[in-house]
Symmetry: C2
Subunit: 321 residues, 2 copies
């Protein structure tokens, strides 16, 4: 099976590539390396399991050319479309990044697939499409969908483009609404930020908001394996799954765990106040992962375990503050 992964040199993408190769796929990675790193997939490039195409999804003309297996020239079997701007906060200051790197990039992927005759797509959407959901844990059929961040808008816009391609051009789609994904190779997010702040000053940790923000966290390998599990075990035209754990972890608790793992137990935690980290931050989010669990997938890590494991991995990668 030939699988194309957009953002395959990125955080989630590179873990997905590991697991796709483990199950025997030949993988084409498309990445512009804006936040991905070639070192995450270098061993697979060296072993010949990955063909790497440095390509920006905003460039439709180039993208049209990479939808084929370089060996044989057939269209690829499936596209895992994971590339996106990873920084939700960015939309508060630069308003067109998510539009271009999210919505328009997804359009370009779909249009390239249509022209090449590629029929299957798996997409990394996000829990933020639910906005400030009134029902928690939030199931996949929750409505209305009123995302409050520009990142969330681009994820919902991309979902809609995908389902319209299903309805109009006969595509088959898997839509994965991610909880907060954390783990090794992370390049952004609250745990990453905390460790970097402690590098600057190991006696003090500034926490955005009041620390009571509470969300589900999923370990990145759990995330990668669950995507493959769902694609292999479902066959509707549109298969939409929450990917997350059955619990939450507060930002306050994350701060404590990071301080422990950084051996900065004496640091003073300072809260900037308010119920959220920034405009567009969802203060509380918990996905209902019932459909995933019913399909026979159990995450290895709870939210809190995922946070602690991630703090350990990132301290190793970034260095002890």
């Amino acid at each position: 099976m030939v699988t194309l992964v957009t953002g395959g040199a990125g955080f989630v993408g590179s873990h997905l590539v590991d697991h796709l190769i483990k199950k025997g796929d030949r993988v084409i990675v498309v990445d512009n390396l804006s936040s991905g790193e070639i070192k995450f997939i270098q061993k697979w490039i060296d072993s010949g399991d990955v063909i790497f195409q440095q390509c920006d999804l905003k460039d439709l003309e180039t993208l049209k050319c990479v939808m084929y297996d370089p060996i044989g020239g057939e269209p690829v079997d499936i596209v895992y479309h994971l590339a996106a701007n990873p920084d939700i906060r960015l939309g508060t200051t630069i308003t067109d990044t998510d539009l271009k790197e999210g919505t328009i990039a997804t359009y370009n992927v779909l249009e390239s697939m249509r022209l090449a005759g590629v029929k299957k797509i798996a997409f990394s959407s996000s829990s933020v499409v639910y906005g400030e959901a009134k029902k928690m844990p939030t199931p996949e059929n929750y409505g209305p969908l009123f995302p409050i961040s520009l990142y969330g808008a681009s994820k919902l816009a991309s979902e809609a483009l995908i389902t319209s391609w299903v309805g109009t051009f006969g595509l088959q789609a898997w839509i994965f609404r991610f909880a907060n994904i954390v783990g090794a190779r992370g390049t952004h997010g609250v745990i990453f930020d905390f460790i970097h702040k402690l590098h600057n000053n190991r006696n003090q940790l500034e926490v955005l908001g009041n620390g009571l923000q509470e969300k589900s966290y999923m370990e990145v390998e759990d995330c990668a394996m669950s995507m493959i599990h769902v694609v292999e075990n479902t066959n509707e035209q549109i298969n939409c799954f929450n990917l997350g754990t059955n619990d939450t972890c507060s930002v306050r608790r994350i701060a404590e765990i990071v301080l422990e793992e950084c051996k900065c137990g004496d640091a003073e935690i300072q809260y900037t106040g308010g119920d959220r980290g920034w405009a567009g931050d969802v203060p509380k989010s918990m996905l209902n992962p019932g459909r995933l669990i019913e399909l026979g997938f159990e995450p290895n890590y709870t939210s809190e375990e995922a946070v602690r494991h991630t703090a350990r991995c990132l301290v190793q990668e970034i260095g002890q503050p």
Copy 2:
């Protein structure tokens, strides 16, 4: 009150302008005249009630300049954003029209509003955001939202952009999910198409699909008045309302009504077959207009009355076949 209407020379937009002026607003119409017609608003331009700005929403730099009252220079009080590609079918052959004229245009409107400090937007979304809804009549909180046309994708993407601007930049929004809007000045849609087909051959009428497609129709003045009614009587940060009637009309029945109004009773109806008119056509749609009715608005026309009234108006405009 100074109100800006995008697409204000178009089908729904021009009727909205009529009613805004009736209630005393000063109106700025922004339209690229791609499907709108200046004659629909000429009398208001002549009377000085409308300032007309010919401007394409894809042109962000120009759009930034029209968000101000030309008299006084203050930002406008509210934007009614109605401009869009009106032809749902187009997405089956040209895939980037709805992206550009829908999603990106909405981004440009929002960004121009943000830069000018305009704080209120009313948006013409559509029942097609619900895709093939399993629940009918469909309420506003229905999920999941899986539109099946590229037009529907652009409407959901635009809604998401708007709610993200609410969550991130403090905008206030009214989202209107339109049933099929029909009436005088119509330039597309099934009634318009049928009359034109009868002009070509008054003995035969080709109907796309099996004619059992069944949807809610709302008369365009009902639509315009209901938008104003909702904006004047609600004040949440996000106000989302279905605009439609409490019933449906089948394509088969529309064909009969059009034949009667065209005095082509002897014409033979030929069905192309299949459950829908084209890929991406929703075969059955019925909105739940309960929230609108609760707010004290009753449409003047049922679906069937709206269809008959429209057939009469369009026969007058286009001419008897």
